[in-house]
């Protein structure tokens, strides 16, 4: 196992190429659910959960189903369907088994289906950890780690953003910038700050 690659997956997905601030994936929930810290936290937790499990499932599908039968072109369709149905299933299971968790995550799970960060991370996993139709060694582990860390990065950006927006709500900002426009300007400055992490070497 390559320690450098491992570290670069962790640091890379959380800070350097944060899914929201640098890859621009998952902007809709980032803007939509970041008004208050509580929901933002739950959304982030739900995203970590779904991202990790989606990475596991899609990796298996790609490696054991699509690759052996030469059906790589079905990647997009199969992934989105699997993610959608998995989210539905997860929602039902959580509702039955853990009502408290359902109250925290429940409302956000359906929203996640159309979160491009989820499909994005699964597609990236395939792009990064498969070479010429073959899985790299430990590629399953990398994929799961990437799913989890991308979710963590998402949570971090959500949390910071929600804190800032709670404060912005009580400020007298220019009318035309109120709400979404200013949220993007804040995101832009955050992304400037995160640029400090670029070019990490270990």
């Amino acid at each position: 196992m390559d320690l450098g690659l491992l570290l670069s997956i962790v640091i890379g997905n959380i800070f350097i190429s944060n899914f929201i601030l640098f890859k621009f994936l998952g902007l809709c929930p980032f803007i939509g659910v970041s008004r208050k810290t509580g929901p933002a936290l739950s959304m982030g937790a739900a995203v970590i959960f779904v991202m990790t499990l989606s990475s596991i499932i899609t990796w298996c599908i790609y490696n054991f189903l699509l690759l052996p039968f030469n059906m790589e072109f079905l990647r997009t369709i199969s992934f989105i369907l699997v993610i959608a149905s998995f989210v539905q299933l997860a929602e039902m299971i959580i509702l039955k088994t853990n009502p408290t968790l359902y109250r925290v995550l429940g409302v956000y799970l359906p929203l996640i289906t159309t979160n491009c960060a989820i499909l994005g991370v699964t597609v990236l996993n395939i792009d990064m950890f498969f070479k010429e139709g073959k899985a790299l060694s430990f590629s399953f582990f990398y994929a799961v780690l990437q799913g989890f860390c991308a979710g963590l990065g998402f949570l971090l950006a959500m949390l910071l953003m929600s804190g800032i927006r709670e404060r912005l709500d009580i400020l007298d900002v220019p009318d035309s910038l109120k709400g979404i426009p200013l949220a993007f300007i804040v995101a832009s400055l955050m992304s400037l700050a995160f640029m400090g992490f670029s070019g990490f070497k270990f």
């Binding site: 810290t37 949390l159 910071l160 804190g163 800032i164 709670e166 404060r167 912005l168 009580i170 400020l171 007298d172 900002v173 220019p174 910038l177 200013l182 300007i185 804040v186 832009s188 400055l189 955050m190 400037l192 700050a193 995160f194 640029m195 400090g196 992490f197 670029s198 070019g199 990490f200 070497k201 270990f202």
Partner: protein
Amino acid sequence: MNNKLIVSTSPHIYTRESSAKIMWMVTLSLVPAGIAGVYIFGLSSLWVILTGIISAVLTEAAIQKLRGAAVTLYDGSALLTGLLLAYCLPPAVPLWVVACGSVFAIAIGKQAFGGLGQNIFNPALAGRAFLLAAWPTYMTTWTNPRGALDAITSATPLDNAFVGVTYWDLFIGRRSGCIGEVCIIALLAGALFLLMSGYISWHIPFSFIATAGIFTWAFGADTLFSGQWLFHILSGGLILGAFFMATDYVTSPLTNKGKLIFGFGCGLFTGIIRLWGGYPEGVCYAILLMNAACPLIDRYTRPRRFGTK
């Protein structure tokens, strides 16, 4: 005052006149470092400082006019932003770059949020980060200090750790670097004045510098606990950032506990970026990152939350 509930800025009990007074006092305390910078790097740095100030003030006035708000130049905040921005620029930077930075700092960093007391990020640092991303070559071209015998031609002062630079050189500012950050003794004089007169508290500078020092001491060399911590404290923009930028009332936490956490985060990120990051200097980014976390820190260090875990 308007009837909105304003909960962010820390000088609650001051009126507008007092917040203007704070701005002017901070500006005053920065003057020695500026004089030292001009002495060390020559007259070109004076033009950088003046351009920074003038374009910041003009931008502020223009935007306030456009918005139909009262023009509040006398509060000195735009001037201070321009001054701080100029202090963390290299002396030889083209003047139009300085002007662009000032415009960005005031327009995006401050006025987009509604003006004084409302910005989330330190405007001067936002301006600097913008410039560093926009024109990296100008932002990393350094001038040799006056009296340097052999030319120090490194990309950045932090890169060539100890080539002919002693601690004393660092202390009096005989090194290349940004205009306002080099002369530590002048900065400390200003900082002492601010601390003594109570305009800033010790919490943020202390935890910032201590954390950065301990971190670079622990991880700064190949073996643990043998890094050159004093070098890291005296070099770069650490002193300028810790005393004059991280302590900005608007963008730092309200409570003392929050301030300690804020300073700790600044020091930690500074150390991480300096030792392992792609950029040689991390102070600017560290403070910006902690600015982003500041509302959260405030939220979780509210006094009523003590004891609840």
